[in-house]
């Protein structure tokens, strides 16, 4: 039997990221690498700095110090190998990168959707930003993606405001993934939803991650969500990473005092 190929290229190289609003508010000196095909969870309580870190990583907020390096690999979609320094490439290129190669799923679907236009237009908009103009194809993609996220394609002309919270979140995911992003950021994607709706969304996200081979940075305070979705975890407290490891190791064999407290505080029904 041959040795398995375990090497994965680094997609995102995060070096010394600091973004502080005050002492221990924000994130400080964060280093990590995300490998292609990995789902990395960032866990911690509210105020730990995980959402600030995600905003910096996703290109929404410049850090006080440090670099976010995106190592783009040439693939079927074209392009060439390149290393892009997210906050050195300039506003226009950064926005293009976010639109064309990355995706962001907000906790509140209202932040990621345009509530006034139809579901189909929400999905088609990102494709149009990539240069697709054919109405029939855009509509077909919209319907296919609605099916993929278990929404009734018959509602393609309805505005998202007529959808339930869970449906809006699934629509936001369809809108984000329709362009086949190489890297997806998710901020508490199941956060505001009822438990029964959450379960359905989690199962769907697991399937999509597998089918599309997504690389994901996922922020969540919910350790059960982290267990189901993430391969690897960073535990944050007061703006700093206190422990990293395989998800099972963090949850079953936590080393740091704070991680032990966090894991042992979870109620198991």
């Amino acid at each position: 039997m041959k040795k398995p190929v375990l090497e994965r290229p680094v997609l995102l190289d995060v070096q010394g990221i600091t973004r502080l609003y005050g002492p221990a508010k924000g994130c400080e000196a964060i280093d990590f690498q995300l490998h292609a095909g990995e789902v990395l969870g960032i866990v911690g309580e509210s105020g730990s700095g995980k959402s600030t870190l995600l905003r910096v990583l996703a290109g929404l907020e410049a850090p006080d110090a440090g670099q976010v390096l995106y190592r783009r690999q040439a693939d079927d979609a074209g392009g060439e190998d390149a290393e892009l320094d997210l906050y050195a490439i300039g506003e226009a290129r950064r926005r293009a990168l976010l639109r064309l190669e990355w995706g962001l799923v907000h906790q509140n679907p209202r932040d990621g959707l345009r509530m006034g236009v139809s579901a189909g237009a929400n999905i088609g908009e990102r494709l149009m930003a990539q240069g697709q103009r054919h109405y029939g194809q855009l509509r077909a993609s919209g319907q296919a993606w609605m099916r993929q996220v278990e929404l009734d394609p018959g509602r393609i002309d309805d505005a998202p405001r007529t959808f339930s919270g869970g449906m809006q979140q699934r629509l936001q995911i369809a809108r984000t993934l329709v362009t086949r992003p190489r890297l997806v950021f998710m901020d508490e994607p199941t956060g505001g939803l009822d438990v029964s709706v959450q379960a359905r969304l989690l199962d769907m996200l697991r399937t999509l991650v597998r089918q599309l081979g997504l690389s994901v940075v996922l922020v969540t305070h919910d350790l059960a969500v982290a267990r189901l979705l993430a391969h690897r975890l960073l535990v944050m407290r007061r703006g700093q990473v206190v422990e990293t490891g395989l998800t099972d190791q963090i949850l079953d064999d936590p080393q740091h005092e704070y991680t032990q407290l966090l894991v042992s505080s979870v109620l198991t029904p």
């Binding site: 398995p4 190929v5 690498q33 990995e38 199962d203 189901l228 099972d248 064999d253 080393q255 740091h256």
Partner: protein
């Protein structure tokens, strides 16, 4: 060095070597108490053999399996996998590499099924194949064949196992563990909540895995099952257990 007194007569090539493994838990919340659960454990495992861990409950048998699967960190000692083209040391394996290792090399039948809400039993079973990019229809077929062999009623296949009985959940778990045909398989009491007929099925599955060359490390409390599947026994009593003061390294011995 490792004792070879129990070397399997079948094949001389080890698939797994464990040397000088220790495990200590430090519990910050309990005033920093330290619990030693394993001291200086060594073993070798050949392709096509089933080594059964023996010893009283709480002695660290599951701990060893969890360290081999990456659930527990490896603090001290060496776990080495052997391949035709070289070795792989798990204690220095980067975290990102474990995911692929679990997908392709190390399988694990845990004591209890981790239930994912809303996912049907047959989907739970076929997931390890889909993770490798296998064809969905083929994977479903294989999953159904295994569930049928394990006598899980067909009406349950499309239901999430959350409401199943302990024995039914365990059979889903066994099917999920065996479907991937991993070259190294860890078995944590797979027969604990099964009736005699289903125990026989699991014993047959273990026999077939041996014939494929699967190396297996298992925990079986049922003595009858143990005798039927074990090629060797590894008694853990000397060097494991929080209260043990033994400093002797554990030696493998023939059952």
């Amino acid at each position: 060095m490792l004792s070879e007194t129990g070397a399997s007569p079948k094949r001389a090539r080890p698939r797994l070597t464990v040397a000088g493994l220790h495990k200590r838990f430090l519990l910050h919340g309990q005033g920093g108490v330290e619990i030693d659960v394993m001291r200086d454990l060594s073993l070798t495992l050949q392709a096509g053999e089933c080594l059964v861990l023996a010893g009283r409950s709480g002695i660290g048998k599951s701990t060893l399996l969890k360290m081999l699967y990456g659930d527990y960190r490896i603090d001290q000692g060496r776990i080495r996998l052997h391949f035709d083209d070289g070795d792989l040391d798990l204690e220095t394996l980067p975290t990102y590499a474990w995911h692929g290792l679990r997908r392709d090399v190390i399988g694990y039948v845990s004591q209890f099924l981790r239930v994912v809400p809303r996912v049907a039993a047959v989907d739970v079973v076929m997931e390890p194949l889909l993770a490798r990019g296998a064809d969905e229809a083929d994977s479903r077929q294989r999953a159904e064949t295994l569930l049928a062999r394990l006598n899980l009623p067909e009406r349950l296949w499309q239901l999430p196992p959350g409401t199943f009985s302990g024995g039914e959940q365990q059979r889903v778990n066994i099917a999920r563990g065996f479907i991937g045909e991993h070259p190294l398989l860890l078995l944590d009491e797979p027969t604990a909540s099964l009736d005699a007929a289903n125990r026989d099925v699991v014993i047959a599955l273990i026999g077939e895995a041996k014939a494929r060359g699967t190396a297996m490390l298992g925990i079986f409390h049922d003595e009858d099952v143990r005798e039927r599947v074990a090629d060797r026994l590894l008694p853990l009593d000397g060097s494991l257990g929080g209260l043990s003061n033994a400093s002797q390294p554990c030696r493998e011995s023939l059952s």
